[in-house]
């Protein structure tokens, strides 16, 4: 479990993280979303004690990370896959990391196998492709079998195979009771793997909610209807209070009625339906809606009170 309490980081010219409070729970994959420069990486670095918070605290399993007795066994992190010495082999990189908590060669071979780097483990890490470097970073995070994993953009540079692999791996780790905090720019990927979402913008929390609620909140209940009888159907639906637009002949976009209700109404009046498609919002749409709001409000109100109200609204929902 990771607890952030009023966590802030101020640089000389800007506030990177502005009083974030949240609990990242074990047992689920928590997605960490936000535009570039929103403070995701800074927050992750503060959890690991790499950057010192200006105020507030970040606790890992109830303690500051720097006070844990076996740090790598507490938190495994992938923050900067390029942050390895290019002259050292992947195997030796893992060996020196493991040595800090007494994890030796056997486990190193094990994680090399897990991430699929066994065959190139003797090659200098500097010769690795982006995807191989990413796999090495993941191996380093898994090395001491930590209960908490923090991964910044782990799918960057991975091929489809690798993406599917890490998706399964993260799900499995979370199901095994671990805390998994994951950031990614790939919304479709995030939607597949994360159960919970922490969205930040301009250093503040915009949403802290389950993936399902987050998407449902943003859906406006759009149903697309394809029918040769739209001329009869449209006034009928409008009569029940729905909003109906017709972008083209034979096609209606209905808001305010469920697909079931539309189908029943059509059957009742013996109208033909060729398609009846409820449109689910995607994480991408939901995310864009939220961050666009936040940007607009920030323009009007420098104190950005909107972000807290958004969070409240999400929580109430």
């Amino acid at each position: 479990m990771i607890e952030l309490q009023q966590l802030s980081k101020q640089y000389s010219d800007k506030v990177a993280v502005d009083g974030i409070s949240a609990v990242i729970r074990p047992g689920v994959v928590t997605g960490f979303l936000g535009p570039n420069g929103a403070g995701k990486s800074t927050t992750m670095r503060m959890i690991l004690g790499l950057d010192r918070p200006t105020s507030g605290t970040a606790l890992v399993n109830g303690r500051p990370y720097a006070k844990t007795s076996a740090p790598l066994a507490e938190v495994g992190a992938l923050l900067d896959a390029k942050g390895v010495d290019g002259g050292r082999s992947a195997r030796n990189h893992l060996l020196w990391l493991g040595a800090t908590v007494g994890v030796g060669a056997r486990r190193v071979e094990e994680v090399l196998g897990t991430v699929g780097l066994t065959e190139v483990a003797g090659k200098p890490a500097g010769k690795f492709s982006l995807g191989m470097g990413q796999r090495l970073g993941i191996a380093a995070a898994l090395l001491a079998d930590p209960g908490v994993l923090i991964l910044d953009e782990p799918v960057n540079g991975l091929d489809l195979d690798g993406i599917q692999w890490i998706r399964a791996l993260l799900t499995e780790l979370a199901e095994g009771g671990r805390t998994v905090l994951l950031s990614s720019h790939l919304m479709s990927e995030m939607q597949l793997v994360a159960d919970h979402l922490l969205v930040i913008g301009q250093g503040r929390i915009l949403a802290d909610t389950s993936m399902d609620d987050f998407i449902a909140d943003s859906s406006d209940g759009l149903v697309i209807v394809v029918s040769p009888d739209t001329n009869t159907l449209a006034p009928l639906l409008t009569g029940t209070g729905a909003t109906v637009t017709s972008p083209e002949i034979g096609r209606l976009e209905v808001r305010g009625l469920t697909a079931d209700a539309i189908g029943d109404a059509a059957a009742l009046h013996k109208l033909r339906l060729h398609s009846l498609i409820p449109v689910e919002a995607s994480l991408e749409t939901a995310y864009l809606n939220l961050t666009r709001d936040s940007v607009e409000y920030t323009g009007a109100n420098p104190h950005n009170t909107h972000s807290t109200t958004t969070t409240d609204a999400r929580r109430a929902a």
């Binding site: 010495d85 800090t100 908590v101 009771g177």
Partner: protein, 291 residues
């Protein structure tokens, strides 16, 4: 945990317990406490798994032995005995002719050992693995200091034996290892090389820049002292004798900045103070700045 912005409803402590118990049973991994000993073990793996360490250390030995042998060969016949006191050079100085160059090489290696992780950005992984960051500086300096000391002793002894053999072969005066002060002089030189390398390591961590720290050490130890000694009035000699190189000159054959030189004991103490100051500065810097 009652936190205003969370939506937590699950019994988190129980889930955490499950996680902890699974971790204990499910894997062959058993992580142990991270302490200074493990930090040292880790740094030892780091230093020995870089080819540049072996090349660099071999270069130090090569420079010491090579230049010493070369100087001995060229000076055969012009070498004066230690009791001579005339204008000639004593045999020990001749066979240690490579010392200045070796100090230059070890300065570079020390700065690399300190600043290399900042240029590769691997320092983040290091301080995440060893968050009590003073241990990073202490373990790095212990490991680098030990490797350098072994290297310097090897090089100095090699230079001594090769050089003296060449001198003896040329019928020139020699000194024996068992002669007064010979062993002390050789140990002093090895100590000086080790100290300057470790000083560079401290500056490398402090300045976080390979080029910057090499510039600082080379300028401060090798370039500025002779310049200052030559350009500044003699009244400055009192101060110049406390420079690292002058302190080294108190107990080795390297050249000091001014005309005044401390006693060997005081020189060693001053040099050690420089090293401790650099490492102390590095500890303060690494502990307080963001990684």
């Amino acid at each position: 945990m009652t936190n205003p912005t969370t939506t937590v409803t699950a019994p988190t402590s129980r889930t955490a317990d499950i996680a902890a118990s699974r971790r204990r049973t499910a894997s062959a991994t058993t992580a142990r406490r991270q302490g200074l000993g493990r930090a040292i073990a880790s740094e030892w793996i780091k230093i020995r798994t870089l080819r540049s360490t072996w090349i660099g250390m071999a270069l130090v030995v090569l420079v010491l032995v090579g230049f010493g042998g070369l100087a001995a060969a060229t000076s055969t016949g012009s070498v004066a005995g230690p009791s001579d006191g005339g204008g000639g050079t004593d045999p020990l100085s001749v066979v240690l002719s490579g010392a200045n160059f070796a100090v230059l090489v070890i300065s570079v290696l020390g700065c690399l050992a300190g600043a290399r992780e900042y240029s590769s950005r691997m320092i983040a992984a290091t301080v995440a693995a060893v968050p009590r960051r003073w241990q990073v500086v202490v373990s790095k300096s212990i490991v680098f200091g030990a490797v350098t000391a072994v290297t310097a002793v090897t090089g100095v002894l090699g230079a001594f034996w090769l050089g003296m053999a060449i001198l003896a072969g040329g019928d020139a005066a020699t000194v024996a290892l068992t002669d007064d002060d010979t062993l002390r002089e050789l140990a002093g030189m090895a100590g000086y090389i080790t100290a300057i390398g470790t000083f560079g390591l401290g500056l490398g961590i402090l300045l976080r820049s390979i080029a910057g720290s090499i510039g600082a050490v080379v300028a401060g130890v090798m370039i500025l002292p002779p310049l200052a000694g030559a350009l500044l009035p003699a009244s400055w000699d009192e101060i110049l004798q406390y420079l690292p190189s002058s302190a080294g000159a108190a107990f080795t054959t390297v050249q000091g900045a001014g005309r005044e030189v401390l006693s060997p004991g005081a020189g060693a103490a001053v040099l050690i103070t420089w090293v401790i100051a650099a490492l102390g500065g590095a500890i303060i810097s690494i502990s307080h700045r963001d990684a």
